[in-house]
Structure formats: structure tokens, C-alpha cells
Point group: C2
Chain length 366, copies 2
């Protein structure tokens, strides 16, 4: 088992990564002081249930003396809505969850974001545990950003609400579809690109082991990815400055997701295209050509798209970007690579330049 | 102008109380570093608009260089819903509010709670200013509790989100209906009952001046009420222990509001009846009879009900109490007076005893 801490003063919490960790959930929850008197609610989705993870976690927790209630949502981004939030809070009330209760998110990023916002807002905040079951969720489960979507914009209604712990059982990743494996590796590569050149080289060399879900490679990559995330979040919990670097690829990526209608492109795929765009922008602003070629090569090797689907409307993409949270006081905030493993926060990128990049991304050779 | 500070470390903020303070809003906002570059959104209700306060505040802020957008909701508790939240967040997006924007709540408790939760959740939290226009809001506008209702329970979806400042213009209180004046004084009296015997005597002696909206008396009473609230919140921002004393009268009161259907009883009226119940409970548990007689007398003198409407069903009231946030790990948490100006947090009050009190409250002489 690998362990690391997200250092946040009195909100510091551990991340555990290892094979078969669901079996240790009872002990790890108890160690962290989770109440066995108040009901604990596991929120998960139908896919996770079908894979047997809910049955397993539930059995382990009941055996450890917890009062467990469960709630199963439909998989997919459309569940991240205020309507589903209201239903879950109704269920929490019916099941008697109180201020000492805990919400456990068992699933990918959608489950984590939604369940986390239930925990953040129910009775103005109760405890919360992340049990990610996708690679992508190594990113969303660390750092305390939780949210639901508004019909007009993604993740716009939310909170900063740190979990009590993150429990990552590598066995739950073995059943992931190939496309989701690649999409998840997008954020892993991102953590290298913003912080750790050596780790980018490692990903470049180990791309095949990663896409084949080699347990050793995967455990190491998730540990490295979570470590970068934890280091950044520890320095800037509420995104006053540094934390914004985690948004590499997201300015364009979020806009693509919005325009493609939350479904055509997986989050990791949209971010991959966004990172290629950011690398192109970096080169235009003075970085070496290598920033672009390496970024594109590593992302391709882990099975990700690097070209923007040409049928997506450029005007619509630009419009979506202006509704993004990264638009502030009249300026687009862009994360721009300056070399591999290093980015800068650039607040003076013109909309015209971004539009040019978007057009180029439609021509990208694959 | 009276000024006091709510001491909360880096979240410390000032409360200003005085006549004609709306005219100073521009200066006070600027002093607190509110951005004039990003749009600022005033959320208010139709009643406040009818009284001319919105026009006044808007003109003052525009003259001071702020970009002002406004949103007017229907008055009343039914606006504290996720549906209205979603609409307001949609409007914030349309108007281009960004992470440096500020939400201003101009109105009573409903506007403050709702606008506060918009500010807490929009982009995971933006700045927030309270401009209360009711007496009751002296309570809700201080301390950072914000929320909307769920069909099953009041204030169950929310956050702790402290304002940047509270601006209390006594002139806005002059148009309040008589019934709302009394309802507002309920929380003023409560702040005396939990913390300050001398202030309870003062309320007893000055009840007529208060209900007649004498500016001197009102300014003093609101300053005292806010001071007690600020002192308690400073010691326990997130209601881990002490802050619970602010719930005097609320265990029964919230249940009455829920059963009466959020409308028959104003919040302050329900809390008044709840405080008489809590005083009865205190006497049963050993406090002097005076605790009950003084509590009831002061509340009557400021024009509040002290008898529970007999048609409200006792079973339904008990059921509603069990869905309250104050129910924790299987126990009702009750705030019980031990003497005038002092209460204790009692976690061992039996449901049977509470039921007995509810029945007695239906027989209360008026």
C-alpha cells in the first residue's frame, strides 16, 4: 500500500493506494474517526454496482459495525444536477443522516463531485470520503473541489469540501473500458506536464504498461499524479493563484465538452485536446517546439485524441469559454507551458489568439 | 453609526448600524475591497423594491463606480428553493459574474439565506454582503449560515459563508408591518435570554419603544443583539458546540414552522412559542419559575404569541423534530435555560418530555 498526505492544516488527510484496499475500508474509516452511531451513506452509480464494488464495500463496512445506507444514481454527467442533489438530500433525510454522518463517494468523477457536494451542503456540511474507481478520479478525488452542473455551465454550483480520506483500490480499475483508461491517463499526464519533467518521460516510456493496466505501473502513476495534485492543493487550497495551474488544458477542454454536449468527448479526451492547444500556445509565446511535440506524443501514446473534431463550431467554443470560471475581470486566464514540467498562468492571452489555436486544433495531424 | 466586528481570524468582518447608511454603501464597499471591475449583483425581493430601497442602493453604488446588476425574487420562504437558486445562478452567468464578483443581499432573512447560498456555491464561492432590511435579519445576517430549503426540511441545504460586511440602515425598518416588527424582536429577545440578563430587563422595560420603532431604542437593541451573536459565532464558527445555544426555541420552533406549512407562523413567532417551551422545560429540569414567567412576559410585551396553535398535530410536530439538524446520533439536542441570560446544551431530553411540553404549550394562558 502506498500512502501520502494532503497537507492542509487541520484539514490534512491521507490518500491510500493499493490492491484490494476495499477490504481494509472498515479499519481505515475507524482510524479516521468515522462515526458508527450515525448512518453512513454510500453514493454510487449503476456501473459500479454492476462491477460488484458496492456489494463488497457495503459488506466490509457492515462487518466493521457501520450503519450503511446506499444510493445508486444513473451513470454520467447528467446526474450532476440540482435535481439529483435534491433527491439525494431527500434520501439522506429519510434515512436519518445527521451532522455526524458521513457520505462515501464510490465511483468516478461524477459520483465524487455530486456526492461531495451533497456532503458539503447537507446540514451545511458533513464528513465525506472518496473511494475512486476510475483513473480519472485520481484527480477529482483529491483537493476538495465538488460541484454540480448548471444547464449553462459545468461545475458552476459547488464548494471546496475536503474528504476525510481517499481510498484507492487498484483492483476496481481492472474492469475499466479501454477508452476510459486512456481518458483517465489524460490527467495523469497533465500532472507531469505542469510539475515533473521526469514523470512525463516515464509516462512516455511506460505508456503501453499503463494502457494495459499493469498494476505496478498504474500504482506508481497514480501515486505520482496524486502527489503533484496534493502538493499544489496544499499550497493553494482555494485557487487564489497557484492551483490554477491544474487547469492546464481545461480552458479549451471545458468549452469542448460544453459544445459537444457532455457526451461525445469524455472529460479526459477534451482535456487532451486542450493540452495540445495549450502547448501550441506555449510555442507561439516562446517555448521550444519540443513542448508541443512531446505533449502531443505522450497523449497519443496513451490512446488520447489530439485533434479537435472539425464539426464543432468555433464560435460556440469561444462563447462557452467566456462562461467559464477561468474568465475573470474581463480576461481569459490561460495555463501556458513554458517547458515540459513547467507552466505559467497567463492573463493576457487575447481571444483572437485562442480562436486561431482552436482553428489549428481542427487541422492537427493524428 | 455603531460599528462592531465579528472576530473570525482572516474572515473577520464589520457590522455597521445606523440611520441613512445606504447612502454610505459605495464608500463602505470600496473600503472593504469590493471589485468595481467585476459585475456586482444585488438580490432582493418585490417588497423591498416597492419600498424604494433597491433604487436607492443601486443609484448609490452606480455613482460610486460599481457595475450593478439586480435580481428580484418573490417574497417569502418559498423562494428559498433549489429551483430559484438555479435561476439566480443562470442570471449570474448571463450577466458575466466572475470569481471576483460580489453578491449583495438586500432584504430580510429569506433574501439573505438564499443570496448567501448563491454566493457560497457560485463558482464554489464568491464574495457576499448583507444589507438587512428587517429586524429579524439582524440574526440571520450575522454568522455566515446560509441555506435553501428542501421540501422535507428547512435550511437543510446550505453552507457556512461569511459576508464581507453587514450594513444595517435603520431607516429601512420604518416601513415594516407591525407583525414583522414583533417577529423580528423575537431573536433580539433570544440573544438576551441566552447571554445577557441585563439586556432582557432592558427589553422588558423598553418593549413599547421597540414595537413603536423608536430609532434610538432599535439601534441599541440591534447593536446588543448583533453583539451577542458575534461573540458566540467568534467562539464557534461552525457550530461544534457553543454556537448551538443560538438555537434556543428553535427545536420546537422549526417543527412548528414545518407543520404549519411555512406561512401560518412567522419564524419569529414560532421561535417565540419554542422559547416559552424551552423555558417550561428549564423549570422542569430545575430552573426557577421566574425563567418561565420572565421569558413569557417579555415575549408577550413585544407582541409575540406564546401559545401553540392547538390545531397543529402533536405527532406531526414530533416527527418534524426528528428531521431537524439538531437531532444527532439518536438524541435531540435541546437548548435549556438555567437562568435568565444563561442556557445549557442538553442532549438527554427524552422525546416523551418534549411531547408533554408541546401539549402544555397548546394550553398556555395568553
Amino acid at each position: 500500500m502506498r500512502e501520502l498526505l494532503v497537507e492542509l492544516g487541520e484539514r490534512t488527510y491521507p490518500i491510500y493506494i493499493g490492491e484490494g484496499l476495499l477490504n481494509a475500508a472498515g479499519d481505515l474509516f475507524t482510524q479516521r474517526g468515522i462515526s458508527a452511531k450515525s448512518p453512513l451513506m454510500i453514493i454510487t452509480d449503476e456501473n459500479v454496482v454492476a462491477q460488484g464494488h458496492l456489494d463488497k464495500l457495503q459488506a466490509v463496512l457492515i462487518a466493521a459495525g457501520f450503519k450503511v445506507v446506499t444510493s445508486v444514481i444513473n451513470p454520467g454527467e447528467s446526474s450532476k444536477s440540482l435535481l439529483v442533489l435534491e433527491k439525494l438530500i431527500g434520501q439522506a433525510l429519510e434515512e436519518g443522516l445527521d451532522r455526524k454522518s458521513t457520505i462515501v463517494a464510490l465511483g468516478g468523477g461524477v459520483v465524487g463531485d455530486l456526492a461531495g457536494f451533497v456532503a458539503a451542503s447537507y446540514m451545511r456540511g458533513i464528513k465525506f470520503i472518496q473511494v475512486p474507481t476510475t483513473i480519472l478520479a485520481h484527480d477529482s478525488s483529491v483537493g476538495g473541489k465538488v460541484a454540480v452542473n448548471h444547464p449553462m455551465a459545468k461545475n458552476i454550483i459547488g464548494a471546496f469540501h475536503q474528504p476525510e480520506l481517499v481510498l484507492y483500490d487498484l483492483e476496481t480499475l481492472q474492469t475499466l473500458p479501454k477508452r476510459e483508461v486512456s481518458a483517465g491517463l489524460s490527467e495523469v499526464v497533465k500532472h507531469g506536464l505542469i510539475w515533473d519533467e521526469e514523470f512525463v518521460s516515464w509516462c512516455d516510456e511506460n505508456a503501453e504498461r499503463l494502457t494495459a493496466l499493469d498494476a505496478d505501473a498504474l500504482g506508481y502513476a497514480l501515486f505520482k499524479g496524486c502527489s503533484v495534485k496534493a502538493a499544489v492543493v496544499s499550497k493553494d487550497e482555494r485557487e487564489n493563484d497557484l492551483r490554477a495551474i491544474l487547469n492546464l488544458g481545461h480552458t479549451i477542454g471545458h468549452a469542448l465538452e460544453a459544445v459537444a454536449g457532455y457526451g461525445e468527448l469524455l472529460h479526459g479526451e477534451a482535456i487532451s485536446i486542450g493540452m495540445v492547444g495549450a502547448a501550441r500556445l506555449g510555442v507561439k509565446l516562446g517555448a521550444s517546439e519540443e513542448v508541443y511535440t512531446v505533449t502531443k506524443r505522450v497523449l497519443s501514446r496513451v490512446g488520447l485524441p489530439v485533434k479537435l473534431p472539425p464539426h464543432l463550431d468555433t464560435d460556440a467554443i469561444m462563447e462557452a469559454m467566456l462562461h467559464d470560471k477561468k474568465f475573470m475581470e474581463g480576461t481569459i486566464v490561460f495555463i501556458v507551458p513554458v517547458e515540459i514540467g513547467k507552466v505559467e498562468i497567463n492573463k493576457s492571452v487575447s481571444a483572437a489568439l485562442v480562436r486561431e489555436i482552436v482553428e489549428q486544433l481542427k487541422q492537427e495531424a493524428v
